[in-house]
Symmetry: C5
Subunit: 339 residues, 5 copies
């Protein structure tokens, strides 16, 4: 790649480049244009940190050339929808992590994104796909602790992962709150279609998060055990810490999955209980109405010889009988709990 | 940290310090103020046991400085909601255990807490979060067996874990009793909404306990296998014993989980059986009422030529027919079990 | 412990001691009082076999002193409700097995018990908790094959385990028979509350047995692999045999668990089918009754101009119409299978 | 055992001996009476293949003596109901496999059997329990490929296993066909009790087959990896092939289990849908009948001042109103899908 | 095999041979007739790639002779319905992969096929069974990147696998779309039989795909780890990439399986809710009709002394009462949500 081609692509590149800076002893010392990265990397001992967002193929090929990245990895970085993983090469590393955050709107919609990290001696490239916001702020946080940043690229990777993993907690809190709310609805005795639908969507969200988080257990564990010299020995407890958080998140999701399933089954049972209650109420009222109807039918018969018919008090008496029958039925239904 | 700063924080510290004592040959020989811990640790061979409760950051930083604890661990100890785990460093160990106890009220509410233990040569720091009561008494129990206490910090860790693990048994007994009670309700044939709700809450409690206990299996097993010299070889059978108890608790929880699920399904099946029975009863009574209504309808017809109408015994005969029909229906319904 | 103290406890001890004998070349040569066990063990090369039943703490402490047993193990042996396990010490072994047998009454109630075995060079102590009968007969069986008994304490342990494991088979046969009986009830079309209740209790029993048997898989496997010299190489195929039996039992339980779950679900489905059938029958009869009621209602109207009313054959014709309508409905309901 | 006793048992033995022959270079060269097996084995280098069917204890003891078989193994071979397994001894091997075949009758009944194989240098003993037919033909097939038979006892074992495993496929095909047939019934909308019962029995059969096949995975894998010199290196791909078949069978069973469970759940859902449809139909017809009944009731009232009563067209008008009401209801019910 | 026999089979062979070519440095240099393959393989260093489709036994035996393939493998290649697997021999490899693609018709029908690959030094034989189209295009794609093709037979294997695995994604997308569509139906409140049937078929398809994909995880992982020199070290990241895709597909299937199960359960719950709603509506209308019927019945009674009967406004008043009762009922049912 000649200087010329660098220049010509330079313009195009800037759009998806969020940040590209050199750090010395944990302190940002200079912004480095994409075109100058190869020079800066080969001719100085500063740490380079490039942040990209949904980069074009040309930018990735430029970086591949600059840092000598593997073909397959660059291909992967261009496509989103990767499974979280870590790939260790001789002197570089490629990490894929999935991000999750609540959307800004009021409803609990979860936005997923992906962060790909290329790590090598004295350089780290972070590539974001999907939701931008899901890791805004990580660079600022790193720069706020130059002591850790000075420890090199492994610590930057930790900071990125820690940041992303921590963002799962509010998402899970929101899902937990949703389940709590659903519980109230389920046990309130009102069975509306929306409760089942909300449980379904809760379970769908939990599944999506679980699929994002589960591979992270292996990824973080691998980073704890790796003998790549990109991750120094004193960085391991930090990755272990991330690993603990990931396992805790997986535990929480697992618990919510099981609980939401029990909620679904309880919902079904309670719908049946409610149906039974309603049917009994219906039956009781039907009986209460059927009895006077039957008695009235009796006195609607046209027999010539029906002594009661001719009695002066026949009519009010029959009304009284009907009323009494209704009252007795009503009271006994109340007693057996049908009403 | 100078003597001055120690003094200044001294006042603040005392609030969350429950106990801080030095032991010699298993016997408590002196109370050691927090400020003097570093001195006491470095200049004597006594065992120091510090008990804290929801400590402030400043206290933890003081102890970190005194005993040289790892940054991450101190950060963890400050935050509750850790997953039970054991972290082994070169010459120290950090253990997180979750505690559970029944609340004092009549209802079976479970209070969860957390205990963090820092273990190093000749010192042990226990930090409680949440429910205080859940490990009151452990120090007294330890001091009652100076022979074991004299064996050092590993045995104190065992005593703390054994104490906490033993507290799970009454909680599980209570949940078992709750399930037994629910069984009676389920098979009594009365389907009230509360049974399903109670099964749900039972399953929720079981899930919460399971998540507290499951990681303890790995923690206790790790302590049995660890080659840290904080846990001497003769302490291992003791941790194996704790491990056995934890597995037994996990087994019990597992059994209750499966049984409560079967209970939920049985509940659903019995609700359907009850619904069916009620529907049949309703149908039977509807039929018994419909027959005389129909007959009465017949004789309510205004045809001019209806011989029965003019018979003297027409009316009582029709009543007799209705009554007989009702009785025959009633008896046959009794026979087929619909009534 | 002096001779005196042995004597003083001697009386108390005898109550829970079932048997205490010395064997030479597989043949019982002498009964050994508890107080003389230590002597007999240290000063002869006979095999000592002590059988206890729910022993008091004093007896256990006596034996601990005699054979040098571990503190924890003795503590365990005193408490029942241990999980099946094997603990291998330098020159001794502690095995916990759970026993199960059908109660003598007609109903299929399962009695669980526990057997603890202390094994060491030239001695074996078996401690029974719970159901006594569940391993009565094992000593007699062993003494019947002196050739195997002569091979030492490892073979006695095998005999005890084999005996206990074999007792699970009739229990499982009984549960299998219960499920077969339930199947007949489920598919007979009669849905009584008791079927669901019996499935529930079957599943509860299966769960209890599974929890007793599952740890035995690991226990028997460990005894096959152990390199303790208490289990000689030629004893291993025998423990492998026990292991095979345990796995077979676990398989059978697993099958019954799955099948009983399918039975529960089938039961639920068939209850719904029955409900549907009943509802259709109810609907059909309601229709058959409603049609003549409606026709009768028509001719009960008081219009002045109703030609049919005045016809001589109006009344019998109307009855014929009603009857025909009922018959047509009845036949068509029969055809569609509603009746 | 003297020559005399061999002779005396000789008669008895022949009943359960199906075949006993010597092979040289894969070709059957002689039939060998049971009594002469020991001689033939020790004094020639021919391969001996003995086929037994539910042998008596005496025959097994005879063979045990002849080939030096292990006590436990002979005991096992006498009892059926073993779990499939392979036991490797110093210079012999004991393999238990369960066989399955469809019964000859039209219904899909599965007959299970057991084949035990003793394998040693230059001899193989196959013992059948249960269904005889389930491995008739294996010897003929082996004799048809003398090239493979000449490779020795390991290849005979392979042939027996391959034969038995291949017989599972038609059984599974039959169960698959049964499920296909059930699917048609389930989705046809007719809910008869027998569908649920057939799903139940299908699941029961699948469970039984699974329990026969699952241990075979481990057995065949173990034979692939074993370093016994009874299985030569060039025989391993053949056992690997059996292993692949077993895994495929297990996969198929697993798929059928999951699918039949979904079928059971779909069945339940569709029963509910059908119930709902029937209830709506019932409700619609009830409404259609109730409206004219109510109108007729109105004109059955005995009020003196009812103008319509005296109108000449009152009666036909009222009939028209009733008919119109019924038609309107009918049409609107058709529209909403209730009818 | 003599030249003559080669010639004679030559004609027959061509039918199932799709392609047979020699490559030099990744470029196709010649078509090689099947009969000349042995010569071409032994006497040149070109890479031979033979593509067959459901070959006859004779063709396979010809190739077996030419390249020295294993008996068992050739037998396998002739039969379809193999489980995906990889078998590594000394200097050759046999890989079975299952293919899946959507049928061309509008409905989502999945066509499964099988591809068998024989791999050896400088030759690769691909054998297709079932759906031809499912890997049409792979050779063209390979020939388009001669750089990779030049790297040898390992890379061709990768290209074939990559191609086949990539074809799973559109299939899964289609199933995901089907579930999305079903969700809409489920939560729309219309319960038609077809929804349950479609969920069932979706689950059946998912199961079939899962059984095709799951073994591929092990196959691709094995190819990553294998130390056969057919797969060079620089080919491993490529197989790792295939492995990642397979795991991602398995994840997606797993998610769809769980979600479709929740959909089935939600469907069941909503059917019950709908049934309940319909029953309440029915009950409400029944009540609304029953009240005027009962009142009309009252005034149909033939008592001589009923003052209302003689009132001029009796009839309209009674109608008003009925109407009011109906309206009040209607309103209160609206309020409680029954209507």
């Amino acid at each position: 790649m000649t200087t010329h081609s660098s220049d010509s692509t330079g313009k195009q590149l800037h759009r998806s480049v969020i940040n590209s800076a050199a750090y010395c002893d944990g302190v940002r010392v200079a912004d480095v244009p994409i075109a100058d990265l190869e020079d800066a990397w080969k001719n100085s001992d500063r740490l380079l940190w490039v942040g990209l967002c949904e980069p074009s193929e040309s930018i990735l090929m430029h970086l591949q050339h600059a840092f000598g990245l593997h073909d397959l990895v660059v291909e992967d970085a261009h496509r989103a929808h990767q499974r979280p993983k870590v790939e260790v090469y001789d002197d570089s590393m490629f990490v894929v992590i999935r991000t999750a955050r609540l959307s800004d709107g009021g409803e609990h919609r979860i936005e997923f994104g992906e962060t790909h990290v290329f790590l090598g001696p004295r350089y780290i490239i972070t590539v974001r796909h999907g939701s931008l916001k899901s890791h805004a702020g990580v660079r600022a946080r790193c720069e706020a602790t130059p002591k850790l940043l000075a420890k090199g690229e492994g610590f930057v990777l930790h900071a990125v992962m820690d940041f992303i993993v921590d963002q799962y907690f509010p998402v899970i809190d929101a899902l937990e709150a949703e389940l709590d709310e659903l519980e109230v609805h389920i046990f309130s005795g009102k069975f509306v279609r929306s409760v089942t639908e909300r449980i379904y969507h809760l379970r769908r969200d939990l599944l999506a998060i679980k699929q994002a988080v589960t591979p992270l257990i292996e990824v973080s564990s691998q980073l704890t055990r790796t003998n790549s010299n990109l991750i120094s020995a004193d960085a391991r407890p930090y990755f272990q810490d991330v690993h603990d958080h990931v396992i805790r998140i997986a535990d929480l999701i697992d618990g919510l999955q099981q609980l939401s399933h029990t909620a679904l089954e309880s919902n079904l049972a309670l719908i049946s209980v409610a149906q039974n209650d309603d049917m009994k109420r219906l039956a009781a009222w039907a009986a209460i109405l059927a009895v006077p109807t039957m008695i009235a039918g009796l006195y609607g018969m046209n027999f010539e010889f029906m002594p009661e018919i001719r009695w002066a008090w026949g009519y009010p008496a029959s009304l009284l009988v009907m009323l009494s029958a209704c009252l007795i039925l009503y009271k006994s239904f109340r007693k057996t709990g049908w009403l």
